[in-house]
Homo-oligomer: 317 residues x 2
Amino acid sequence: MFRPEIKVVDCTIRDGGLTNNSNFTLETVRAVYQAACESGVDYVELGYRNNRKMLEPAKFGPWRFCDESQLAEVTRGVDPRSTKLAVMMDSHKSSVDDIVPKDRSVVDMIRVATYVKDVDKAIRLAKVAHDQGYETTINVMSISKEGGLHLDEALQQIEEETRALAVYVVDSFGSLYSEEVHYFVERFTMFLKTKHVGVHMHNNQQLAFANTIEGIIKGANFLDGTLYGLGRGAGNCPTELLLGFLKNPKFNLVPLLDVISRHILPLQKQIDWGYHVPYMLSGIRNLHPNVAIEWMADATRKEDLVGFYKKLEIDFE
Amino acid sequence: MFRPEIKVVDCTIRDGGLTNNSNFTLETVRAVYQAACESGVDYVELGYRNNRKMLEPAKFGPWRFCDESQLAEVTRGVDPRSTKLAVMMDSHKSSVDDIVPKDRSVVDMIRVATYVKDVDKAIRLAKVAHDQGYETTINVMSISKEGGLHLDEALQQIEEETRALAVYVVDSFGSLYSEEVHYFVERFTMFLKTKHVGVHMHNNQQLAFANTIEGIIKGANFLDGTLYGLGRGAGNCPTELLLGFLKNPKFNLVPLLDVISRHILPLQKQIDWGYHVPYMLSGIRNLHPNVAIEWMADATRKEDLVGFYKKLEIDFE
């Protein structure tokens, strides 16, 4: 038995791009896109559409900007079947000027990532995107730092002012336990009477997949994953685990296993993602993972776990 | 707020020994023992006490047999504080003749691992161990293959015939989801009115820590972990994650982080444990992990994930 409302979003290229400044080869992005389409994943997110003036563009690969011409290179000749294409816009690094009308785009959905403090920027982006013909979501980042009045007001405002399909609980720090996932999904559901709730989980405490299941149990219908958990620091909920769990017969795991073998496992030679004790410690303390990523980047102290523990005690207490 | 009844059992050397035929150096075992004692972990399990006549002893290191003289080498000069020492006896590979009276042993607890079919052997071992002065547990392996009448009868028999402190739900195949953990812990609790329930989880689906928390939520009080999740295949619930979650102020994470840095991370050069897709696939299919471990042992096909998927389809359908 399955819940047909559930949508799986593979954001390997988008969120995984935070490990390599969005510098994937076109070949890898095409392979991930094709595998997603063959697997029956509902959405595949191929990068950010951030604004070049708001970043240092020379630092980043093409998937941080997702120009239409670039995306057309990816989709050319591939049958999307039922899979839709998404890009993400950060509310504080994006411009409505970069949203072209849907009939001139291969993009189906624009997902707006935001902190609670920037919710008005996010709502503006989501409204413009919707008016230009796109499906939209709003993804509330760093949720483990949020709560109380400001979150409630933001959710109420999103409910009233946008046509977003879904609003996401984003555990940016990999800090939530199951009871907190229940709390946030229930709270979102209370305010968002006309929208789905989504969950996007990080794996600092090896809970990304477990917390995604807990979201499902509480009614979340939009579920994010990345192939083999590729993502900054400890990484994400692995899409292959999610598809192995979901019962909808439209899903096919094999194309995902194939692209993991051919394109994701080889990335392990350059990118060190997955469970490491420093990421766990930043997750437990509800800290941005960058504090752990910076520690790990220095090979001479990467395995000095007590040193990192003590640094956190000094820096954050 | 914490539950004082909760006991943490670190079984790094015992269960981790399934990765290397229990061939840890004395130095590593002493370091793990000392760290466990300093961390406030309630029990540290240093190996199996299996019977030499029932195995090929030349194949195994000393921690498969845990002779008293060997254990004395480990504990000499270390202040155990409140930490007790455990060994495990497999019901089908152990002999009551290997249980010496408690006053001639450094062991505090004997844990008997058993399949449901061998429960009478397990009960006999547990009774003899109890009569010789030890604390005991009975650990019901491969629980994801069990259920129904035979399990109920086994639990009722353990309840009536033994003085075991705890009876464990052992997810040998890393196959359970949270709802199944709830089911088993509730079922065990129903039969075991005078005993604690324990949980021992494997990480095939990245759910070992999450499922341990779900066990806690349902009332399980004996919790197994291994340092950095060291264990066969995908490994175990990491003890450091467990201590990071539990609130009892008697626990101290730092000695565990230190021994992970010095003794466990270096083992990664010889032992490849942790999340890999073949382990996930055997977990989802509720299969013994050895089918995946054998596949992974051949470097030429280790990353052929589709090949392994297809093998399972042919072999098990």
